[in-house]
Amino acid sequence: MNGDPKLERIAKGNALALCATGTWTASFAPVLERMVADAEKLAGGPQSIFIDVSEVAKLDTFGAWLIERLRRSLTQGPVEAQIAGLSANYSSLVDEVRRVRATPVIETSTITITGMLEQIGRTVVGLAGTVAGLVDMLGAVLAAVGRVLIHPRSFRLTSTVHHMEQVCWRAVPIIVLITFLIGCIIAQQGIFHFRRFGADIFVVDMLGVLVLREIGVLLVAIMVAGRSGSAYTAELGSMKMREEIDALRTMGFDPIEVLVLPRMLALVLALPILAFLGAMAALYGGGLVAWLYGGVDPEAFLLRLRDAISIDHFIVGMVKAPVMAAVIGIVACVEGLAVQGSAESLGQHTTASVVKGIFFVIVMDGVFAIFFASIGM
C-alpha cells in the first residue's frame, strides 16, 4: 500500500484522469513537486480533468496542498479540474488547504544606490541620536541622584552593594593580574631599549608616569567596559525583553532609580578602586622585572620612583577614573534600555555597549590629556 508516489495519466473518453498513488507526504515532497509541475503543463487543454486520489495511501498537508495546487492551475477558463475519490479521512484536510489563499508576494529587499545612501544618512542621524540618548540618560541619572538626596530612604543600598561586589570585588583578581603583566612588559621593553643608551634607570620614570597617568586607568576602564558594561547591557536588555521594566513602571517605580542608579554608583565607586589596585600591581610588576631583568634593585627603584613622579601624576590618574566609570555606565544603561524584543537585538546592543564604551573612554582620556596639559599638571 505504501510506496513511492506516482501521478498517472489515464484518458477516459474526452476526460483526462490523473491518478495519484502512493505516499503523498512531506518526505516525498521534492518528487511530488516535480510530478505536479509536469502535470501542470496539461493546463489549457480542452478536456475536463479529474484528479483521482482514491489510491493515495497517505496524505499530509504537503501532499494535500500539492494536489490543491494542481487543481488550481488546471482550472482555467471553462475547464474546471476536480478532485475525485477523496476518502472521508482526508476530505477535511483537503477542505482545509482549499481555503488557503495564494501566497502573497514576499517582498525581497534589493540593494540600490539610493538605498545605500539612505542607510548612510540614517546612520549619521542615528549618531546624533546616540549622543542625545547619552545626554538624556545623564540628565535622568542626575535627576535621580537629586531625588535620592532629598529622600535618602529611597536609595537602594542593598542593590548598590550587590553591584559593588559584582563589578569591584570580583574584578580584582583579573584586573590585578593583567595590570601586573602589563607593568612587567612595559618595564622589560623599556630596559631592553634604554640599555643601548645606558639609560636603564629611566625605565622607572617611564613606568611611573605611564602607569599612574595613563595606562593604569585606561586599561582598567577598558576592561571594566568589557566586563561590567556588557553585563549591565545584557541584564537591563533581558529585563526589557521580558517586560520587567514595564512592570516596574506600572508599580510606580522609576527604573532609573531602581536599576540604573545603583549600577552607576557601584561603577563610579569601583573604577577608582580598581584603577588604584591596577596601578599598584603594574608598578610592582615593573619593579620586579627591573630588578630581575634589569638589575635595578628595589631600593634604587623606589628612590628613583620618588624622584621621578609627583603626587600630580597620581591625582591625574585618579580624577579620570570616576568620569570614565560614569561614561561606561551611561553607555551600558542606554544600550540596555534600547533592546527590542529579539535575542539578536540583545546581542547587537551588548556589542554596541562595549564598543561605544571603549570609544568614549578613549575620547575622554584625550580630552583629559588636553585639559591637564593646559593647566600644567
Binding site: 500500500m1 505504501n2 507526504t25 512531506a26 518526505s27 515532497a29 521534492p30 513537486e33 499530509d60 498537508t61 504537503f62 496542498w65 500539492l66 495546487r69 479521512n89 482526508y90 477535511s92 484536510l93 482545509e96 488547504v97 481555503r99 488557503v100 489563499r101 501566497t103 502573497p104 514576499i106 517582498e107 525583553m241 527590542q340 524584543g341 529579539s342 535575542a343 539578536e344 537585538s345
Partner: protein, 260 residues
C-alpha cells in the same frame, strides 16, 4: 507491511516505564508509568507544580532522568543511535508553554525552519505550506512577515503550533496550548486539534488546565499526582473517581459550569 501496521496500532506510541526525575533532593517524578496510544488525544492534568511540564520535557529529552526507560515510536531513546533519535525528533512537534519562537526570525522563517533542515523542497512550496499552516491555526497571511515580538500572546501560541506542525509530525506535545487564548480561540483550537488528529492520524499529548479542552478534545485523560499517574481513563472514569483532588477538579464550580 500489514503486520507492521497492526503492531503499530497495538503498541503505544509513547511508552514510559518507571521514570524517576529528581532535582537536588526533591523527587518530582517517582516511578511513573504511562502509555500513549497511537492516534489518541491524551489530556494530561494535575495540580500546578506536580511535574506535568517536567514529564513532557523528560520525554522529549530536555530533562535528564535518574531511572526508567522511555520509548517513542518503539525506539528506546536511551539506547538509540544519533540518526535514530534524529528520525524520532523529525516525527514529533513540540509546542512550548511560552511559544519559544526564534525571536530573530519572522513568523514565516520560524515555520520554515524545520522544513529547511529536514526537507529538500523549493522555496515556493515552503511559502505555500507556511500559508496553509497559518490558515490552519487561524492566522491571517499578513502575520507571516512579522517578528515574534510584534505578536500578541495568543498569536504566539498559534504560530508556535504552526511551527510544531510544520513537518506534519505523527506526534505533538502541547504544553498548555489554550492558556492565554480567548474562549472562542481556545474552542477553535480544540476543534483544530481534533481535525488534525482525524486527518493526519496525529497523536496528541496535551498538558492542559482547560476543562473545555478535556471535555471536547481529549480521548483519554491522565492525572499526575505525587510523582505518579494517579488515574487514567475517559472523562466518565474521571468523574466517577473518588480521589479527592479529582473530585474537586471535576466536580468543582468551574467543572459544573462546563458540564451544563
Amino acid at each position: 507491511m500489514a503486520q507492521e501496521t497492526q503492531d503499530a496500532i497495538q503498541n503505544p506510541i509513547i511508552r514510559v516505564r518507571d521514570i524517576t526525575v529528581q532535582f537536588g533532593s526533591t523527587r518530582v517524578l517517582d516511578g511513573l508509568n504511562l502509555d500513549v496510544k497511537r492516534g489518541e488525544i491524551l489530556g494530561f492534568v494535575g495540580p500546578s507544580g506536580a511535574g506535568k511540564s517536567v514529564l513532557t520535557r523528560t520525554i522529549i529529552g530536555l530533562v535528564p532522568k535518574v531511572a526508567g526507560s522511555i520509548e517513542v515510536f518503539g525506539v528506546d531513546l536511551d539506547s538509540s543511535s544519533t540518526s535514530q533519535r534524529r528520525n524520532v525528533e523529525r516525527r514529533w512537534g513540540v509546542l512550548f508553554q511560552q511559544g519559544a519562537l526564534f525571536s530573530s526570525l519572522t513568523v514565516r522563517q520560524n515555520i520554515q525552519f524545520p522544513m529547511r533542515e529536514y526537507l529538500r523542497v523549493s522555496q515556493r512550496l515552503m511559502d505555500e505550506i507556511t500559508m496553509a499552516k497559518l490558515a490552519m491555526v487561524g492566522l491571517k497571511p499578513e502575520v507571516a512577515e512579522r517578528f515574534p515580538s510584534e505578536l500578541s500572546g495568543g498569536m504566539i501560541k498559534r504560530v508556535a503550533l504552526a511551527r510544531a506542525l510544520s513537518l506534519d509530525p505523527d506526534l505533538v506535545f502541547l504544553d498548555e496550548p489554550t492558556s492565554g487564548l480567548d474562549p472562542i480561540g481556545a474552542g477553535d483550537f480544540d476543534e483544530l486539534v481534533r481535525t488534525l488528529q482525524r486527518t493526519l492520524g496525529l497523536t496528541v499529548f496535551m498538558v492542559t488546565h482547560d476543562l473545555d479542552s478535556l471535555y471536547t478534545a481529549c480521548d483519554r485523560i491522565a492525572v499526575l499526582g505525587n510523582g505518579k499517574i494517579i488515574a487514567a481513563g475517559s472523562i466518565a472514569d474521571m468523574q466517577a473517581s473518588q480521589h479527592p483532588w479529582l473530585r474537586q477538579y471535576f466536580h468543582g464550580k468551574r467543572a459544573r459550569a462546563v458540564m451544563s
